[in-house]
């Protein structure tokens, strides 16, 4: 009983193992290729990297809040020389009448130095009256003919000249500790700090300090001068001043004892390009030399790098397959002609040609956008001979295979013979050579862009992103400029090679299931 069962089992097993239909699921050719491909771990890794790169480049650009060439700014504080302040220690003279000439002035100097109450000039005697600290009046009797002063009356606008009379009256009022005075029927008010107002508005300042603007075109307001003088008087070294427009700035006072000049420095905040800013919340990978968002440019750069790679490979593959296929299938003089053209193309030193063409495009001022297309065309046209040679060789050997004779014996059309029997047998090699050349094309494009001959600003490509690293300072300090682009480039090329290898293995039916 048990023996019989065994037999049945054995028979059953035998049948089962013979009937492959049930034992092995039959897969369509495409599914087989896919299955073999996905079994290859390295190829899948490459595939995943590529998918990520594609999403990053093509969708990332849409998601990114910034434009490819959007420039960012930041506010920066600049300490610039604003005004210079000197204390006036030399007496100056007011000629209230013509009588007070150069002789009288010279005498006045002596009188003040020697503390004489009178001066004599041209036979006349004048009284030197000390009105207060830094102001002497020279009087002929009751009438003041002139004055010597240390405090200077100046207007906000340095071009405004005050009459000697006004100056004298103002100084008198200031020295006297403030008060109202009248000149030519106009009422003025002077306070103890030397501010002279007319009808409540700032009109002039009396001060021993001379304030000079260090930058041309800057008007030093009376308010600022007042504040400055106030702080000079108290000896503070820094102060904040808000001007009538609402701009607040920090000022610092620096005294140079050699020249006896206080230089006032203003800390101004200005808008500058946000260059080489480190990664932050707003710019995840920082900004580049031009103040553009690094991450966004990386996305757009990937888009261009991948697109250039693909289009170049498509151009060179189509050219290579058509020309190589024609040469291989028809042979004879056509083969000879095509192969000689291939030889010629092999002799062309491609790097110098590309560099020369790049320079020529520079010379013709080709628009950056059109330049990308020219670049694709040039690289594509220079890239086909390898593919053509490979396809031709393959087809030449396949053509002589017996299965090709069999197709002829079966009366199958030439087109079908080429596309159904020859091309599928070339596809694995074609895919490998294409994926490998995708990688190398991206490298070539990056090299050209790096050299400034490929994709041009404002368009980004991984190559011209790395181009920002023009000196070792950037290389060592701003890693975020070149590491991400370099890593992207390396990963993409690596992934293309992995996928190419994986596809080749998957397409090869001689590989075990």
């Amino acid at each position: 009983m048990s023996d019989e069962n065994k037999n049945v089992n054995q028979n059953g097993e035998e049948q089962y193992s013979l009937n492959d239909d049930r034992r092995v699921k039959v897969l369509s050719p495409g599914a087989m290729v896919a299955k073999r491909f996905f079994r290859n771990r390295l190829a899948v890794t490459g595939m995943v990297i590529l998918i990520i790169m594609f999403i990053f480049s093509f969708i990332g650009g849409l998601v990114s809040p910034y434009r490819e060439d959007e420039v960012f700014y930041r506010r920066d504080y600049i300490n610039k020389e604003y005004v210079g302040v000197t204390e006036n220690t030399e007496y100056r003279y007011l000629e209230l009448t013509e009588e007070y000439g150069a002789v009288q002035q010279a005498m006045t100097v002596l009188a003040i130095q020697q503390d004489k109450p009178t001066i004599e000039a041209k036979g006349k005697t004048y009284d030197v009256v000390k009105e207060g600290e830094g102001l002497y009046s020279i009087k002929d009797g009751d009438t003041a003919i002139g004055a010597a002063y240390l405090d200077i009356v100046s207007a906000e606008d340095s071009s405004v000249k005050f009459t000697p009379d006004f100056q004298y009256q103002a100084l008198l009022a200031y020295i006297g500790g403030g008060g109202a005075f009248t000149v030519d029927g106009e009422e003025y008010e002077a306070d103890e700090l030397g501010m002279i107002t007319k009808g409540g508005e700032s009109y002039a300042v009396c001060s021993r300090y001379i304030v000079q603007s260090k930058t041309s075109g800057t008007v030093i307001s009376n308010e600022f001068r007042e504040a400055l003088i106030e702080h000079l008087a108290t000896g503070e070294e820094a102060f904040t001043f808000t001007d009538p427009e609402g701009e607040t700035a920090e000022y610092t006072l620096v005294y140079d004892p050699a020249t006896k000049i206080w230089s006032v420095k203003q800390e101004v905040s200005t808008q500058v390009f946000d260059t080489y800013s480190f990664p932050s919340k707003t710019h995840w990978l920082g900004t580049d030399r031009n103040g553009m968002d690094m991450l966004t440019r990386l996305m757009y750069g990937g888009r261009i790098s991948l697109m250039v790679g693909f289009i170049v490979v498509i151009i060179s593959t189509v050219l290579g397959v058509v020309l190589g296929g024609v040469a291989g299938y028809f042979g004879g003089w056509i083969d000879n002609l095509v192969m000689r053209i291939v030889d010629i193309f092999y002799c062309i030193p491609s790097t110098p040609v590309i560099i020369i063409l790049g320079a020529a495009m520079d010379g013709m001022r080709v628009e950056p956008k059109i330049r990308i297309f020219y670049l694709m065309l040039i690289l594509g046209v220079l890239g086909w001979p390898g593919t053509a040679r490979m396809v031709r060789g393959q087809i030449l050997s396949l053509r002589e295979q017996e299965f090709m004779t069999a197709t002829e014996a079966c009366g199958i059309r030439v087109s079908r013979r080429i596309f159904r029997h020859l091309i599928p047998n070339v596809i694995p090699q074609l895919i490998v050579i294409s994926t490998m050349s995708l990688g190398s094309t991206i490298i070539t494009e990056s090299t050209l862009s790096f050299l400034g001959l490929g994709v041009k600003f404002p368009y980004a490509s991984w190559g011209n992103i790395i181009n920002d690293v023009s000196n070792s300072f950037v290389l060592t300090n701003y890693w975020f400029i070149w590491i991400p682009a370099g890593v992207c480039l390396m990963l993409t090329v690596l992934a293309f090679n992995f996928v190419g290898d994986g596809l080749r293995d998957a397409f090869d039916p001689r590989m075990k299931r």
């Binding site: 079966c410 079908r416 029997h421 047998n425």
Partner: protein, 385 residues
């Protein structure tokens, strides 16, 4: 005929009908031939009638023959020199003449490089243009057809290749390989296509689920079955079997040979069976042609040829057939030297350099085909009357 008998001596011992098994076998063969409507060999009938030996006279179509070949020549140019001009010619097929009756099998034997395969391919117009001669298939000159006509003609004449590994497109599933030409020529309706392919595969001993497999998943014997199925799917009348079993091991050879025989009976196919394996040829063929250096040196019914080989070359060739008996003494005729180059064949009779009966005449004058026995032709000066 005295000379004739003398020469025949050596082979006669090996292949004369001396044992009861062989007698039985010969009787079977004879019956088989009668079934196919052929005259018994060696008899008075005119079994395979040769065309007129005058090479310039055009062939006249005789409807009993599916294939008439006359003075067929195929030379391959040898290119050399700086400008790769033609410096010589390889005379692979140099004047082959035979007729092939419908529903029969003709064996074509000869040593390697004698032009058997080229003959087969030239008949099918597979190696470019012929150099000369005529190939009438069903009365139609094959080389006169336009490419379009040729394509439809292809369904009638098929070929099975020697190497089942290189003759199948590696990237197509088996079903596609077999069915491609059927679809190309619209031989069956689309709705019946799958059933038809299954039927053809079944006839050739293949399972329907093999359709989705690729050639590399099959063994040699199965691959050869696929090749046969591909050829037969087109429903041909004539099949060139170009050493179809030489790449296979003996047990599989028998399977394939029997399959070919079965299919021949079923579809009344005509075979041109090219082989260097004489026992296989003896088993399957009705008529046999022996080739030497591009020429058909002897041609006749299988029994006639095997029983009474006439041409010195045929004798030498047949003496090499091993006898499955360790005690039997083999009288091998060992040929001196090697086969001359087909690019520079000897003058006169091409075999004269290696023939032990060589005369002065052989060196100068090329022999013509002679009918020594009814339906048994030989090309040799020894048989000049």
């Amino acid at each position: 005929m005295g000379v004739n008998k003398g020469i025949a001596d050596g082979v006669g011992r090996a292949h004369g009908a001396s044992t009861p098994e062989e007698l039985k076998y010969q009787t079977e063969k004879r019956e088989e031939r009668l079934k196919k409507g052929l005259q018994p060999a060696g008899g008075t009938g005119t079994a395979p009638v040769m065309a007129s030996s005058d090479p310039n006279e055009p062939l006249v179509y005789d409807p009993q023959y599916i294939l008439m070949v006359k003075n067929l020549k195929k030379y391959f140019p040898i290119k050399g020199g700086m400008m790769s001009h033609v410096v010589g010619q390889v005379k692979a097929v140099d004047g082959v003449t035979f007729n092939l009756k419908r529903g029969t099998t003709m064996g074509l034997v000869g040593e390697s490089g004698c032009g058997k395969t080229t003959t087969g391919r030239t008949i099918l117009r597979l190696s470019g243009e012929k150099t000369g001669g005529q190939v009438l298939f069903n009365g139609q000159e094959v080389y006169d057809l336009s490419p379009k006509e040729m394509r439809s003609m292809r369904t009638k004449m098929q070929i099975i290749f020697q190497d089942p590994f290189s003759s199948l497109s590696p990237r197509l599933p088996v079903g596609e390989i077999i069915g491609e030409a059927v679809r190309e020529h619209n031989l069956v309706q689309k709705s019946e296509f799958n059933a038809y392919i299954d039927q053809v595969m079944d006839n050739c001993g293949l399972q329907p689920f093999h359709k989705d497999r690729y050639p590399h998943e099959f063994s040699g014997g199965q691959r050869q079955r696929i090749c046969i199925a591909r050829a037969l799917a087109l429903n041909p009348e004539f099949v060139v079997c170009d050493e179809p079993v030489s790449a296979l091991d003996v047990s599989i050879q028998a399977q394939i040979i029997n399959l070919l025989k079965e299919l021949q009976e079923k579809y009344s196919l005509t075979y041109l069976f090219i082989s260097h394996d004489l026992s296989v040829v003896e088993h399957i063929s009705d008529t046999v042609g022996v080739m030497y250096l591009g020429n058909l040196v002897e041609y006749g019914a299988t029994e006639d040829i095997f029983r009474n080989p006439l041409h010195p070359y045929t004798k030498a060739l047949f003496s090499a057939i091993p006898i499955p008996d360790p005690k039997a003494k083999m009288n091998r005729i060992v040929l001196e030297g090697s086969i001359p180059s087909p690019a520079n064949p000897p003058s006169g009779c091409k075999f004269h350099t290696r023939c032990k009966y060589c005369t002065e005449r052989c060196k100068k004058e090329a022999p013509v085909q002679r009918e020594v026995e009814p339906g048994h032709y030989v090309v040799c000066h020894l048989f000049d009357k």
